[in-house]
């Protein structure tokens, strides 16, 4: 069966990169200050720090690009499918029939790029469709909400 997956907008990659920069900066800058100026670490410690910085920079350059290239989603009449990952690619499938709740959320960085996350919840777990443009997210949420209502009404009628 051919599935028409949708790719994300380019802004999603920028959002991923800024998020990665902020997270790694929060971890690495205080560790570096603590290690060099307060703990005065030896050469081995400095080498470890250097490697960490190099890996972080490599991650910031490469990871958002790979994640963006791999990220796909598909919402059709039957199911919601999300394909994502960096090295390990995962694919989550939620049958529309099992949907219980739809939630739209937006973090501070995503807000800058006008991106939102749609979280679809079932009775057994949830799946997030991330980095969607605000209008697309609202449209998807509305569409899914109508489907949930339709299913609920059909069940009541039974």
């Amino acid at each position: 069966m051919n599935i028409d997956y949708i790719r994300l907008q380019k802004t999603a990659q920028h959002c991923m990169r800024i998020s990665a920069i902020i997270v790694l900066a929060i971890i690495l800058i205080p560790s570096t200050i603590l290690s060099i100026w307060l703990l005065e670490v030896e050469t081995i410690g400095k080498i470890v720090l250097g490697i960490s910085w190099a890996l972080a920079i490599a991650y910031i350059i490469a990871a958002p690009k790979v994640r963006y290239e791999r990220y796909r989603y598909c919402i059709d009449e039957e199911a919601i499918r999300v394909r994502e990952g960096l090295l390990w690619v995962s694919e989550s499938i939620v049958p529309i029939e099992r949907l219980h709740k739809i939630e739209i959320s937006q973090g501070p960085i995503a807000r800058i790029f006008k991106l939102s996350t749609v979280c679809v919840t079932t009775a057994g777990g949830d799946v997030k469709v991330k980095f969607l443009e605000d209008e697309v997210a609202a449209e998807i949420a509305e569409k899914l909400k109508n489907k949930i209502n339709f299913i609920a009404q059909a069940e009541r009628a039974e």
């Binding site: 039957e78 390990w88 690619v89 499938i93 049958p95 777990g125 799946v127």
Partner: protein
Amino acid sequence: MEKKKIRCHFSIIFESLWKFWVVIFILLLNELEVIIEIVQDIGKDGIMAFLETGGIWGLLILVAITLIVFGIQFFRWRKTWIILEDNLVIIERNTLKKVKNTIAIENISAVNMERNLFERIVGTYRIKMDTNSMTTANETDVSIVFREDVAIAFRKTILERMHKLKGNLDTSALSEERQPDELTKASAGDRKVFHYSPLDMVKHSFYSMHILGLLISIGGIGGMIWYVSEFGWYSFLNEALGGLIAVVIMVIGSIYGIVKNFFKYYDFTVYRDGKDLHIKCGLIKLRSYTIPVDKITAITVQQPVIARLFGKYHVEVTTVGMQDEDGENSNITMALSKEECITHMEELVPEYYWDGIFDYSKEEKGGAMVRVVKSIKWHVLVIIAMVLLFTLAEAPWYIAVLAPLAFDLFVCLLYILSHKTAGYKIKEEGLVLVNGYFAKHISLVKYQKAQVLTMTYHPVAKRYGIGDGTIMLLNTAVSVPYIKEDLASEISDRIIGGTTK
């Protein structure tokens, strides 16, 4: 409007009081040395001297606290009502805090009965009701104590109303006012009752034993015998008393498991009645519970390590809203052979696909290579541990090398066992998923019960065109072993095709 208002049996006050005394006893145990001193003083100087030296105050405080707790419990009992109103069960409590808990009978998933030793002496039963709610899935929603005849009648009324609300007007199957103690007598008619003898309990307890505990115990006892035969009792008591205590604790631990299971599952009886499974078991604490088959999320055929060696199986069901003492899994059989297991289950839960469940396919061979790559992180950690032990901790070479190496070999063994055990079978009605390391778990998952399927493709797995994953169910998750990508999409299509929630 039909309204029935009843109170719990008054013995509940003393049951709560008993629990209070257990707490006091545990607190006093912490002050054991002081207690021993007091007892020695009483023995030496007499009880009057103890009372005169201030002991009277201690006793008075204890009596006063007991009376206060008794008073509170009495007040709670007097002010708590269980109201049965049409299709509602209302628990109303008008103490300092007013609480009114209303439960619609149609949302009740199970009405179970149990009695501990105290309740057995007093002649009462504890009724435990669970609802379908996921938020209270890990706890019993209502737990009330009634006199035996009241409890049996109450349970019967609730079950009848539950069945009527579900559209099952034929309540003849429920009309017997039966005690859980007399469950086996209900075998009359065409119902088949599976009853297990005390010998079956012993066998089940043995097969369910934890292998690690057993091995450590055997090793410990062996080591002790060797030490005593080599160096004698005197040397043993002087030099290795700590070891003796550890061995004794380990042996008690493994025996405790057998004894606990024997007491818990004593007289295990199960039968199918309409759409429900009725189970009764327990020696000291008698439990009787009902599992509606439509509330079963998944069924797992379990094979603990020892059972695996002897080719025995037992079956557990995972349900929402109902819980066993060990969580939400309930045993519905004791240890059985493969053939017995199929026969029993076809009678108890024919809704599931039992035919050929043991003839599943092994996970894809590429899975072994993925596991080899996944294990690399452990080998790296083990090498780092060796270097650190040798350089920084300056440990002798045999410790620095052998201890991490033993750990690494154990991790490798786990990877090998998980590959050897893993398997799957795609059937029309659902999946058979096999997982485990030393023990084997064969899970039966119906497509319509699956909520989310997540498949993960490791870079190495991708080369073999395989992936592993997880199926999220209502309150549990089952692992999917390494399967071909086209099979994964076949499973996802079947899950999407399952329309019932």
